[in-house]
Amino acid sequence: MPSNKSVSDAPIIQFTNCRILREHKLQREDLWVRDGKILDPEKLFFDEQGYADRRLDCGGAIVAPGFIDVQINGGYGVDFSQPCEDVSAGVSLVAKKILEHGVTSFCPTLVTSPPAVYHQVLPQISVHSGGPEGAGVLGFHLEGPFISSDKRGAHPERFLRTFRSGGTDDLMETYGSLDNVAMVTLAPELPHSQSVVSTLRQKGVTVSLGHSVANLSQAEDAVRHGASFITHLFNAMLPFHHRDPGIVGLLTSDQIPAGRTVFYGMIADGIHTNPAALRIAHRAHPSGLVLVTDAITAMGLPPGRHTLGQQEVQIQGPHAYVAGTKTLSGSIATMDMCVRHFKQAAGCSVEDALEAAALHPARLLGLSHRKGSLHYGADADLVLLDDGLRVRATYISGEEVWRAEL
């Protein structure tokens, strides 16, 4: 049927024969898209007397908001933390490949590096929307260098820093600019961290706690100053203790300011966290769980030795270690693998698993008005999945950017 619209000439696509994730439930509804955004078909019908230009039969697939990965260090041989002339080529390569995993937006993550690296890398990538060329960049996630030496994990010790001159100066001296930074992970027990947390928050940067030996009250203090995320819960922090739960205690803390949520990243690759621990976290605070891949350079590559930041990494099966040790170096799981594993390990609903990969990270970054959900007016970043939650197709702004071969 020809379209007939008075508001816009842009073509209208109607996704039919699908189950869409809306209002926390999978519903048998059609999804309408125009101008790269989700369209209200009732308004279209009554106000514009319009209808679809094109109908797309989704073959019964699940249509969910595109996944958002807020912690990914690289992949396919690319290491975001490795300084080079053409950083954007590397980011673009990963951005293109992760479309296959249903990821439509991401935060390229830099591990602890010397200031020179930040000064060279950060200016080369700006926040930009995705499209056929790859997933959109929401801004950098700077994990370090203001972290705890005891919990540095795979981060190189010689580049760790503290807030010597009272905070903000150290920040700017290290990073150079915060213009395209979406998130910073720091250890709140570092002296003078409070003012840094407040400053970052004021600049619209999400503050995450991680690689830290903070106790619960230090963590709560950081949250009061504006911190809202925990980087890979359980990993690189003090273990839960019943008399001082540490950062993990934020999940059930009663000191969180009203109206605010503390989110926490989980690497649900089956390796970084025991499924029982995953379940404890999920059951304690289901609405805060954010799935992240924390994927490293080697993700997507065959087994062997590769580079991460300033260190060497060894891939053995599904594990990635700091070469020569048994310290986990990061994961090589893909986002869709994480969604499937999370659903299976947590025993949660499909809706919960999908929201942990899209709605929750969007809320974390303050983007839920246009990302992470299929409400009218939201960006039409979609992932089509079969019942096993395998990606069949990925869309950005209503345009197909990847399709699985049958």
């Binding site: 049927m1 007939n4 059609d30 209200d40 078909p41 009732e42 308004k43 019908f45 009554f46 514009e48 007397q49 319009g50 209808y51």
Partner: protein, 271 residues
Amino acid sequence: MKLIILNDYDQASEWAAKYIRNKILHFQPGPNKFFTLGLPTGSTPLGCYKKMIEYYKNGEISFEFVKTFNMDEYVGLPRNHPESYHSFMWNNFFKHIDIRAENAHILDGNAADLQAECSSFEEKIKEAGGIELFVGGIGPDGHIAFNEPGSSLVSRTRVKTLAKDTIMANARFFDGDLSKVPTMALTVGVGTVMDAKEVMILITGAHKAFALYKAIEEGVNHMWTVSAFQQHPQTVFVCDEDATLELRVKTVKYFKGTPKSWLLWGGEREL
């Protein structure tokens, strides 16, 4: 009148849907010849709408050349409110079929000039050549559309204040909160529906039984406005067993005895 009595709600819904389907098909609508259909809202016609959607999906019928005119709409309720009749029609019917928006007419309860909106609606019906088949329901107080007890039996489309009975009956759609139910509505008049070539009234459930009794076994009375259709040459009442509970056994036996094959048109389609 014809009184068609089916065993239960589902059967009554199916019968009514088939009747409408057959009428449209028999009419053979086309780009210069639209079938004009009057439509109701509420819980009674839901089953009928579901069946019609099924017939559309099976390819048995198209609504491309059908013009619809809804009976009523609340005044002052935002059009996208989940309980507006616009939302009802979109969610329960229009979004599932191939009707064109410009052919689906529903009164605008948020129009700046409500009476002008009503007059304009009457005009649209006239321009469309009148209504071939007007489908309606009945309220527990015997009203058709929002023609509450006391409405003129020759009334036209206008603004009406809702009766207490109606507000109470509709409260279940507003979380049981009487204060949330709109108090006024735009409605086609009794006279407007009487102008249709044919009228079909759906009545199901024991709670409608007394109204049905008043409508067909007592006199024409403006307190039970559905009774006006006793004076219409082509009226069909479709009901389930429960809705007949207040009727005389004689009435029920008479109408049950009449074959439902009444509505075959030269053997083209069987109900």
